[in-house]
Symmetry: C2
Subunit: 205 residues, 2 copies
Protein backbone atom coordinates (compact mmCIF):
# COMPACT_ATOMS: atom_id res chain seq x y z
CA UNK A 1 0.00 0.00 0.00
CA UNK A 2 2.03 2.93 1.28
CA UNK A 3 5.75 2.81 1.80
CA UNK A 4 7.18 4.84 4.64
CA UNK A 5 4.21 7.00 5.24
CA UNK A 6 3.82 7.61 8.99
CA UNK A 7 0.98 6.01 10.85
CA UNK A 8 -2.39 7.11 9.53
CA UNK A 9 -3.04 10.53 10.98
CA UNK A 10 -6.79 10.37 11.46
CA UNK A 11 -9.03 7.61 12.64
CA UNK A 12 -12.49 7.16 14.07
CA UNK A 13 -13.32 5.02 17.09
CA UNK A 14 -16.83 3.99 18.06
CA UNK A 15 -18.29 3.02 21.39
CA UNK A 16 -21.48 1.17 20.52
CA UNK A 17 -23.91 0.81 23.38
CA UNK A 18 -26.92 -1.31 23.80
CA UNK A 19 -29.10 -2.37 26.69
CA UNK A 20 -29.69 -6.00 27.43
CA UNK A 21 -29.99 -6.45 31.13
CA UNK A 22 -27.71 -3.54 31.73
CA UNK A 23 -25.87 -1.00 29.63
CA UNK A 24 -23.16 -2.69 27.59
CA UNK A 25 -20.69 -1.68 24.94
CA UNK A 26 -19.16 -3.51 22.02
CA UNK A 27 -15.57 -4.58 22.40
CA UNK A 28 -13.05 -6.37 20.24
CA UNK A 29 -11.48 -8.89 22.51
CA UNK A 30 -7.78 -9.58 22.63
CA UNK A 31 -4.77 -9.34 24.85
CA UNK A 32 -5.77 -5.73 25.16
CA UNK A 33 -9.40 -5.18 24.20
CA UNK A 34 -10.20 -2.34 21.82
CA UNK A 35 -13.06 -0.36 20.43
CA UNK A 36 -13.85 -0.69 16.73
CA UNK A 37 -11.59 1.77 14.94
CA UNK A 38 -10.80 2.66 11.36
CA UNK A 39 -8.36 4.98 9.66
CA UNK A 40 -9.97 7.50 7.43
CA UNK A 41 -9.86 6.87 3.69
CA UNK A 42 -9.37 9.45 1.01
CA UNK A 43 -12.65 11.19 0.30
CA UNK A 44 -14.39 9.58 3.25
CA UNK A 45 -16.25 11.59 5.84
CA UNK A 46 -15.55 11.06 9.51
CA UNK A 47 -18.99 9.67 10.12
CA UNK A 48 -18.66 7.26 7.21
CA UNK A 49 -15.37 6.15 8.63
CA UNK A 50 -16.94 5.49 12.01
CA UNK A 51 -19.73 3.49 10.40
CA UNK A 52 -17.20 1.52 8.43
CA UNK A 53 -15.35 0.70 11.64
CA UNK A 54 -18.50 -0.85 13.04
CA UNK A 55 -19.28 -2.66 9.83
CA UNK A 56 -15.83 -4.12 9.37
CA UNK A 57 -15.35 -5.12 12.96
CA UNK A 58 -18.77 -6.53 13.71
CA UNK A 59 -20.97 -6.33 10.62
CA UNK A 60 -23.19 -3.74 12.22
CA UNK A 61 -24.98 -1.10 10.16
CA UNK A 62 -27.64 1.57 10.49
CA UNK A 63 -27.19 2.65 14.05
CA UNK A 64 -27.65 6.01 15.70
CA UNK A 65 -24.25 7.71 15.70
CA UNK A 66 -23.02 10.94 17.21
CA UNK A 67 -19.65 12.55 17.61
CA UNK A 68 -18.27 12.51 21.11
CA UNK A 69 -14.86 14.13 21.26
CA UNK A 70 -11.60 14.32 19.39
CA UNK A 71 -8.50 13.06 21.12
CA UNK A 72 -4.86 13.56 20.51
CA UNK A 73 -3.69 10.08 19.77
CA UNK A 74 -1.58 8.31 22.31
CA UNK A 75 2.08 7.63 21.64
CA UNK A 76 2.04 4.72 19.25
CA UNK A 77 -1.50 4.95 17.94
CA UNK A 78 -2.90 7.18 15.23
CA UNK A 79 -2.28 10.85 15.51
CA UNK A 80 -5.85 12.03 16.07
CA UNK A 81 -8.82 9.92 17.05
CA UNK A 82 -12.33 11.19 16.52
CA UNK A 83 -14.51 9.30 18.96
CA UNK A 84 -18.16 8.52 18.30
CA UNK A 85 -20.80 6.83 20.32
CA UNK A 86 -23.49 4.69 18.79
CA UNK A 87 -26.76 3.39 20.18
CA UNK A 88 -28.98 0.56 19.07
CA UNK A 89 -31.57 -1.84 20.46
CA UNK A 90 -29.96 -5.17 21.24
CA UNK A 91 -32.32 -7.25 19.13
CA UNK A 92 -31.03 -5.54 16.00
CA UNK A 93 -27.48 -6.62 16.78
CA UNK A 94 -26.77 -10.22 16.02
CA UNK A 95 -23.08 -10.67 16.45
CA UNK A 96 -21.75 -14.00 15.36
CA UNK A 97 -18.08 -13.28 15.08
CA UNK A 98 -15.34 -14.57 17.27
CA UNK A 99 -13.55 -11.95 19.26
CA UNK A 100 -16.45 -9.51 19.34
CA UNK A 101 -18.54 -9.21 22.44
CA UNK A 102 -20.26 -7.04 24.99
CA UNK A 103 -18.86 -5.67 28.20
CA UNK A 104 -19.94 -3.64 31.17
CA UNK A 105 -18.75 -0.03 30.89
CA UNK A 106 -18.17 0.07 34.62
CA UNK A 107 -15.58 -2.71 34.42
CA UNK A 108 -13.78 -1.83 31.22
CA UNK A 109 -10.38 -2.09 32.81
CA UNK A 110 -8.89 -4.32 30.15
CA UNK A 111 -9.42 -1.69 27.49
CA UNK A 112 -6.60 0.45 26.20
CA UNK A 113 -6.40 3.62 28.23
CA UNK A 114 -7.75 5.94 25.57
CA UNK A 115 -10.64 3.64 24.73
CA UNK A 116 -11.50 3.52 28.40
CA UNK A 117 -11.74 7.28 28.44
CA UNK A 118 -14.00 7.20 25.41
CA UNK A 119 -16.35 4.71 27.02
CA UNK A 120 -16.45 6.66 30.23
CA UNK A 121 -17.12 10.00 28.60
CA UNK A 122 -19.76 8.47 26.39
CA UNK A 123 -21.57 7.19 29.46
CA UNK A 124 -21.48 10.62 31.00
CA UNK A 125 -22.71 12.20 27.80
CA UNK A 126 -25.58 9.73 27.62
CA UNK A 127 -26.66 10.43 31.15
CA UNK A 128 -26.48 14.14 30.51
CA UNK A 129 -28.38 14.10 27.24
CA UNK A 130 -31.03 11.76 28.56
CA UNK A 131 -33.04 14.63 29.93
CA UNK A 132 -33.15 16.87 26.91
CA UNK A 133 -32.61 14.70 23.85
CA UNK A 134 -34.50 11.66 22.61
CA UNK A 135 -31.67 9.20 23.04
CA UNK A 136 -33.48 6.69 25.21
CA UNK A 137 -35.64 5.72 22.25
CA UNK A 138 -32.55 4.63 20.34
CA UNK A 139 -32.36 1.59 22.59
CA UNK A 140 -35.92 0.53 21.83
CA UNK A 141 -37.85 -0.78 18.86
CA UNK A 142 -40.19 1.49 16.94
CA UNK A 143 -42.97 0.63 19.30
CA UNK A 144 -42.37 0.12 22.97
CA UNK A 145 -44.10 0.04 26.31
CA UNK A 146 -43.75 2.67 28.97
CA UNK A 147 -42.23 0.06 31.20
CA UNK A 148 -39.44 -0.56 28.71
CA UNK A 149 -38.86 3.15 28.32
CA UNK A 150 -38.66 3.61 32.05
CA UNK A 151 -36.14 0.81 32.33
CA UNK A 152 -33.91 2.56 29.81
CA UNK A 153 -34.11 5.79 31.76
CA UNK A 154 -33.30 4.02 34.97
CA UNK A 155 -30.29 2.20 33.54
CA UNK A 156 -28.75 5.20 31.84
CA UNK A 157 -29.59 7.64 34.61
CA UNK A 158 -28.48 5.11 37.22
CA UNK A 159 -31.38 5.62 39.52
CA UNK A 160 -34.77 4.10 40.06
CA UNK A 161 -37.76 6.17 39.11
CA UNK A 162 -41.29 6.29 40.37
CA UNK A 163 -43.59 4.72 37.84
CA UNK A 164 -46.41 7.22 38.08
CA UNK A 165 -44.19 10.28 38.11
CA UNK A 166 -42.29 8.93 35.14
CA UNK A 167 -45.44 8.41 33.12
CA UNK A 168 -46.68 11.85 33.99
CA UNK A 169 -43.41 13.39 32.83
CA UNK A 170 -43.43 11.50 29.56
CA UNK A 171 -47.00 12.50 28.83
CA UNK A 172 -46.27 16.12 29.66
CA UNK A 173 -43.36 16.14 27.24
CA UNK A 174 -45.77 15.08 24.50
CA UNK A 175 -43.08 13.10 22.73
CA UNK A 176 -45.15 9.95 22.77
CA UNK A 177 -48.00 8.74 20.63
CA UNK A 178 -50.25 6.06 22.01
CA UNK A 179 -50.94 3.26 19.56
CA UNK A 180 -54.01 1.09 19.53
CA UNK A 181 -52.04 -2.06 20.18
CA UNK A 182 -50.96 -3.92 23.24
CA UNK A 183 -48.07 -6.24 23.83
CA UNK A 184 -48.77 -9.59 25.46
CA UNK A 185 -45.58 -10.63 27.06
CA UNK A 186 -46.19 -13.11 29.83
CA UNK A 187 -48.71 -14.26 32.31
CA UNK A 188 -49.90 -10.84 33.23
CA UNK A 189 -51.75 -7.84 31.95
CA UNK A 190 -50.59 -6.66 28.47
CA UNK A 191 -48.94 -3.29 28.11
CA UNK A 192 -49.95 -0.54 25.73
CA UNK A 193 -47.50 0.24 22.94
CA UNK A 194 -46.29 3.75 22.20
CA UNK A 195 -44.11 5.24 19.56
CA UNK A 196 -41.98 8.35 19.38
CA UNK A 197 -43.78 11.32 17.91
CA UNK A 198 -42.49 12.25 14.47
CA UNK A 199 -40.67 15.48 15.14
CA UNK A 200 -42.66 18.16 13.37
CA UNK A 201 -44.94 16.84 10.68
CA UNK A 202 -45.16 20.58 9.97
CA UNK A 203 -48.20 21.34 7.88
CA UNK A 204 -49.98 18.97 5.59
CA UNK A 205 -51.85 20.26 2.53
Amino acid sequence: MNDTKPLPPISAAVALFTIREQLEFLRLEGERSRLPTASIDEGETLEACARRALREAAGIEDVFLEQLYTFDGDRDGPRVVVAYYALAPCDRLQIRRPGVGWADPAHASDLAREDRVIVQRACERLAGKLEYAPIAYQFLADRFTLGELQTVYEIIGRQELDKRNFRRRMRASSCLVETRDLRRNGSHRPARLYRLRDTQPAFAG
Copy 2:
Protein backbone atom coordinates in the same frame (compact mmCIF):
# COMPACT_ATOMS: atom_id res chain seq x y z
CA MET B 1 10.66 19.33 0.82
CA ASN B 2 7.91 16.81 0.40
CA ASP B 3 6.73 16.34 -3.12
CA THR B 4 3.03 15.79 -3.66
CA LYS B 5 1.86 15.69 -0.11
CA PRO B 6 -1.78 16.79 0.04
CA LEU B 7 -2.97 19.77 1.99
CA PRO B 8 -2.27 19.53 5.70
CA PRO B 9 -4.71 16.99 7.02
CA ILE B 10 -5.52 18.39 10.46
CA SER B 11 -6.07 21.92 11.65
CA ALA B 12 -7.68 23.69 14.57
CA ALA B 13 -10.01 26.67 14.28
CA VAL B 14 -11.02 28.87 17.18
CA ALA B 15 -14.06 31.05 17.70
CA LEU B 16 -13.01 33.45 20.44
CA PHE B 17 -15.89 35.21 22.14
CA THR B 18 -15.99 38.16 24.41
CA ILE B 19 -18.65 40.49 25.69
CA ARG B 20 -18.34 44.21 25.23
CA GLU B 21 -21.76 45.65 24.74
CA GLN B 22 -22.93 42.45 23.15
CA LEU B 23 -21.49 39.03 22.41
CA GLU B 24 -18.78 39.31 19.78
CA PHE B 25 -16.29 36.97 18.16
CA LEU B 26 -12.83 37.48 16.79
CA ARG B 27 -12.48 37.50 13.04
CA LEU B 28 -9.63 37.87 10.60
CA GLU B 29 -10.89 40.32 8.05
CA GLY B 30 -10.39 39.91 4.35
CA GLU B 31 -12.25 39.39 1.15
CA ARG B 32 -13.71 36.43 2.95
CA SER B 33 -13.33 36.73 6.70
CA ARG B 34 -12.00 33.74 8.60
CA LEU B 35 -11.57 32.39 12.07
CA PRO B 36 -8.06 31.99 13.43
CA THR B 37 -6.82 28.61 12.21
CA ALA B 38 -3.59 26.67 12.34
CA SER B 39 -2.41 23.38 10.91
CA ILE B 40 -1.20 20.96 13.48
CA ASP B 41 2.54 20.55 13.91
CA GLU B 42 4.38 17.36 14.58
CA GLY B 43 4.18 16.53 18.26
CA GLU B 44 1.68 19.28 18.99
CA THR B 45 -1.58 18.63 20.78
CA LEU B 46 -4.83 19.84 19.30
CA GLU B 47 -5.36 22.27 22.11
CA ALA B 48 -1.87 23.66 21.75
CA CYS B 49 -2.54 24.09 18.06
CA ALA B 50 -5.72 26.01 18.77
CA ARG B 51 -3.90 28.26 21.22
CA ARG B 52 -1.19 28.85 18.69
CA ALA B 53 -3.79 29.88 16.13
CA LEU B 54 -5.00 32.57 18.49
CA ARG B 55 -1.50 33.66 19.36
CA GLU B 56 -0.28 33.87 15.81
CA ALA B 57 -3.35 35.57 14.44
CA ALA B 58 -4.00 38.04 17.21
CA GLY B 59 -1.36 37.74 19.90
CA ILE B 60 -3.88 36.39 22.37
CA GLU B 61 -2.89 33.96 25.12
CA ASP B 62 -4.27 32.34 28.24
CA VAL B 63 -7.92 32.11 27.44
CA PHE B 64 -10.52 29.56 28.40
CA LEU B 65 -10.66 27.01 25.59
CA GLU B 66 -12.92 24.06 24.95
CA GLN B 67 -13.41 21.69 22.07
CA LEU B 68 -16.58 22.22 20.10
CA TYR B 69 -16.81 19.77 17.23
CA THR B 70 -14.74 18.16 14.53
CA PHE B 71 -15.68 18.86 10.95
CA ASP B 72 -14.85 17.17 7.72
CA GLY B 73 -12.97 19.85 5.89
CA ASP B 74 -14.65 21.53 2.99
CA ARG B 75 -13.43 20.91 -0.54
CA ASP B 76 -10.30 23.01 -0.76
CA GLY B 77 -9.47 23.49 2.90
CA PRO B 78 -7.70 21.15 5.28
CA ARG B 79 -9.00 17.66 5.55
CA VAL B 80 -10.28 17.76 9.12
CA VAL B 81 -10.93 20.83 11.22
CA VAL B 82 -11.18 20.55 14.98
CA ALA B 83 -13.18 23.55 16.13
CA TYR B 84 -12.72 25.15 19.51
CA TYR B 85 -14.43 27.99 21.25
CA ALA B 86 -12.62 30.36 23.55
CA LEU B 87 -13.91 32.84 26.10
CA ALA B 88 -12.27 35.83 27.70
CA PRO B 89 -13.15 39.14 29.31
CA CYS B 90 -12.74 41.94 26.81
CA ASP B 91 -10.36 43.99 28.93
CA ARG B 92 -7.78 41.24 28.71
CA LEU B 93 -7.82 41.39 24.93
CA GLN B 94 -5.95 44.32 23.48
CA ILE B 95 -5.84 43.79 19.77
CA ARG B 96 -3.67 46.21 17.88
CA ARG B 97 -3.23 44.43 14.62
CA PRO B 98 -4.64 45.39 11.29
CA GLY B 99 -7.12 42.94 9.87
CA VAL B 100 -8.21 41.55 13.22
CA GLY B 101 -11.48 42.67 14.72
CA TRP B 102 -14.72 41.82 16.41
CA ALA B 103 -18.01 40.97 14.83
CA ASP B 104 -21.55 40.17 15.84
CA PRO B 105 -22.21 36.41 15.65
CA ALA B 106 -25.72 37.08 14.42
CA HIS B 107 -24.44 38.85 11.33
CA ALA B 108 -21.47 36.72 10.40
CA SER B 109 -22.53 36.38 6.81
CA ASP B 110 -19.17 37.31 5.33
CA LEU B 111 -17.49 34.37 7.00
CA ALA B 112 -16.60 31.27 5.07
CA ARG B 113 -19.44 28.82 5.30
CA GLU B 114 -17.73 26.38 7.61
CA ASP B 115 -16.59 29.10 9.95
CA ARG B 116 -20.13 30.40 10.08
CA VAL B 117 -21.31 27.01 11.24
CA ILE B 118 -18.64 26.97 13.92
CA VAL B 119 -19.68 30.36 15.24
CA GLN B 120 -23.31 29.42 15.24
CA ARG B 121 -22.81 26.11 16.99
CA ALA B 122 -20.55 27.72 19.54
CA CYS B 123 -23.29 30.21 20.37
CA GLU B 124 -25.76 27.40 20.86
CA ARG B 125 -23.31 25.51 23.02
CA LEU B 126 -22.72 28.56 25.16
CA ALA B 127 -26.40 29.13 25.71
CA GLY B 128 -26.87 25.48 26.57
CA LYS B 129 -23.97 25.25 28.99
CA LEU B 130 -24.81 28.50 30.68
CA GLU B 131 -27.18 26.79 33.07
CA TYR B 132 -24.99 23.98 34.26
CA ALA B 133 -21.38 25.03 33.75
CA PRO B 134 -19.49 28.06 35.03
CA ILE B 135 -18.89 29.63 31.65
CA ALA B 136 -20.39 33.03 32.37
CA TYR B 137 -17.52 33.77 34.71
CA GLN B 138 -15.05 33.42 31.86
CA PHE B 139 -16.28 36.75 30.53
CA LEU B 140 -15.61 38.55 33.79
CA ALA B 141 -12.60 39.55 35.84
CA ASP B 142 -11.69 37.62 38.97
CA ARG B 143 -13.96 39.80 40.99
CA PHE B 144 -17.24 41.05 39.62
CA THR B 145 -20.57 42.46 40.67
CA LEU B 146 -23.84 40.62 40.49
CA GLY B 147 -25.02 43.18 37.98
CA GLU B 148 -22.18 42.31 35.66
CA LEU B 149 -22.86 38.62 36.05
CA GLN B 150 -26.51 39.10 35.30
CA THR B 151 -25.68 41.03 32.15
CA VAL B 152 -23.58 38.12 30.93
CA TYR B 153 -26.40 35.69 31.56
CA GLU B 154 -28.84 37.94 29.75
CA ILE B 155 -26.63 38.37 26.71
CA ILE B 156 -25.73 34.72 26.29
CA GLY B 157 -29.16 33.44 27.19
CA ARG B 158 -30.79 36.10 25.03
CA GLN B 159 -33.42 37.06 27.52
CA GLU B 160 -33.83 39.58 30.25
CA LEU B 161 -33.87 38.28 33.78
CA ASP B 162 -35.48 39.50 36.94
CA LYS B 163 -32.87 40.96 39.23
CA ARG B 164 -34.15 39.53 42.47
CA ASN B 165 -34.83 36.07 41.10
CA PHE B 166 -31.40 36.01 39.50
CA ARG B 167 -29.67 36.90 42.72
CA ARG B 168 -31.60 34.30 44.63
CA ARG B 169 -30.66 31.64 42.10
CA MET B 170 -26.98 32.55 42.25
CA ARG B 171 -26.97 32.45 46.02
CA ALA B 172 -28.75 29.13 46.07
CA SER B 173 -26.16 27.65 43.72
CA SER B 174 -23.48 28.61 46.23
CA CYS B 175 -20.95 29.22 43.49
CA LEU B 176 -20.25 32.72 44.71
CA VAL B 177 -18.15 34.07 47.50
CA GLU B 178 -18.91 37.53 48.76
CA THR B 179 -15.81 39.68 49.18
CA ARG B 180 -15.45 42.55 51.57
CA ASP B 181 -14.93 45.08 48.83
CA LEU B 182 -17.18 47.29 46.80
CA ARG B 183 -16.76 48.74 43.36
CA ARG B 184 -17.39 52.45 42.92
CA ASN B 185 -18.28 52.88 39.34
CA GLY B 186 -20.26 56.05 38.79
CA SER B 187 -22.53 58.44 40.51
CA HIS B 188 -24.55 55.87 42.30
CA ARG B 189 -24.39 53.30 45.03
CA PRO B 190 -21.31 51.03 44.84
CA ALA B 191 -21.80 47.36 44.15
CA ARG B 192 -20.47 44.50 46.19
CA LEU B 193 -17.79 42.38 44.55
CA TYR B 194 -17.99 38.61 44.39
CA ARG B 195 -15.70 35.91 43.14
CA LEU B 196 -16.23 32.40 41.91
CA ARG B 197 -15.89 29.75 44.58
CA ASP B 198 -12.83 27.57 44.10
CA THR B 199 -14.28 24.31 42.92
CA GLN B 200 -12.82 21.19 44.45
CA PRO B 201 -10.22 19.83 42.06
CA ALA B 202 -11.83 16.40 42.55
CA PHE B 203 -10.12 14.06 40.11
CA ALA B 204 -7.68 15.01 37.43
CA GLY B 205 -7.29 13.16 34.17
